[in-house]
Symmetry: C2
Subunit: 225 residues, 2 copies
């Protein structure tokens, strides 16, 4: 019952930090493709990210065998197979909830459409915002969420509301059928097990950066370079 070759590997429960790195490899593969290269190696794939060749091979091994000893990997082939594995070989509709400054910025963010993520609907409960059109999308009230999610078969959502309403709004999104939430509110969300949440907490990121800088200044490396 070896299923390591088929497209949607029911295989093992997808080893943890691996998927994030595979996304990076795919990025680099696409850039190699643009450069017109036809083959690559585990060494080359990990290099821009400081990832060792053994790790690259181990990561890829989670999903199957894609290379040839002595040769390496076919760029086009590996690109296609990783796209399929990661699910980015098709469009993903998104809902965006919360049209503050960040919501507006995300609506214009070019990195999403270029990866086939399409914001198909935006929601806000502020009556002054409802009815406005940004980037060709009209702001709807949250009551319209469930119908929209069903109509577009949306599974992913961007949550850009203030921290104090994040949990409540997340629950509405989940009730509407959303299965994955990219949460920009600086608040932990508690969600049922079938819903995935990634919290992007910019202050925490900055805080960690500040700590590292403080540390590096404390022990050595004192002034401007």
């Amino acid at each position: 019952m070896d299923s390591s070759r088929d497209g949607h590997p029911h295989a093992k429960p997808a080893p943890k930090a691996v998927v994030g790195r595979v996304s990076l490899y795919l990025r680099h593969l696409e850039s190699l493709q643009r450069q017109g290269l036809s083959t690559t190696s585990s060494d080359q794939l990990g290099e821009p990210f400081g990832i060792k060749n053994a790790q690259v091979r181990k990561d890829l091994a989670c999903f199957g065998q894609f290379g040839r000893p002595g040769i390496g990997y076919d760029v086009d082939e590996l690109t296609a197979v990783l796209r399929r594995i990661l699910g980015v070989d098709k469009d993903w509709p998104l809902v965006l909830v919360g049209m503050g400054d960040l919501g507006r910025a995300l609506l214009r963010y070019r990195g999403f459409p270029s990866r086939r993520f399409r914001i198909v609907a935006v929601f806000d409960n502020d009556p002054r915002k409802v009815g406005q059109t940004h980037q060709g999308v009209t702001v709807e009230p949250l009551e319209a969420l469930r119908k929209s999610v069903a109509a577009h078969k949306t599974t992913l959502g961007l949550l850009c509301v203030p921290a104090d309403s994040a949990q409540r709004v997340a629950e509405q999104m989940i009730a509407a059928g959303i299965r994955g939430i990219l949460n920009f509110a600086p608040a932990p969300l508690s969600t049922p097990p079938h819903v995935s949440v990634t919290t992007v907490d910019l202050s925490i990121q900055l805080e960690n950066l500040a700590y590292k800088v403080q540390e590096s200044i404390d022990d050595g490396v004192p002034r401007a370079g």
Copy 2:
């Protein structure tokens, strides 16, 4: 030579994932403080994040001994000591480079000032943007970066330029004396060892979320909840 008690612990090289979690504990402590609680426990501190009590205690042990057996932790005391350890007991000036949509959104983001991160200067090379004022800050050309960094003793920067200029601009920031970069460009930065970089790549985050959702749909949990 036990230095586990002094404020800026020269002690051990700050165990990896620990700092991120300590930031979370601090957040929760501040919320407990607002609720008027005076003591807490390792159990309570980790609970909102799904972190086990043993882990909380181990994490805190990296920096010293702050609790009392049978009692727990003093909320005010632990808050103060964690703030000092993380370096958020003082203002951190920031530069922001790149005034696109995301740059503008970050300039308005309330999570930064509330954690004492102050955007003191913003830069862009587009002559149409230079001279504009947003949120009371005037956009300057990149040539002005070095002088500004020196004047404000800035060590941290937000990088919000397109991917294809990210490396070049990062080098300018580093040359100007910046020591930590929060990078929003979807591109890996290569930097000298005394400079810390955290890349916030929203497409990668979404991609990983999409993968998890796809996986959860594939094996079980089929429709809207």
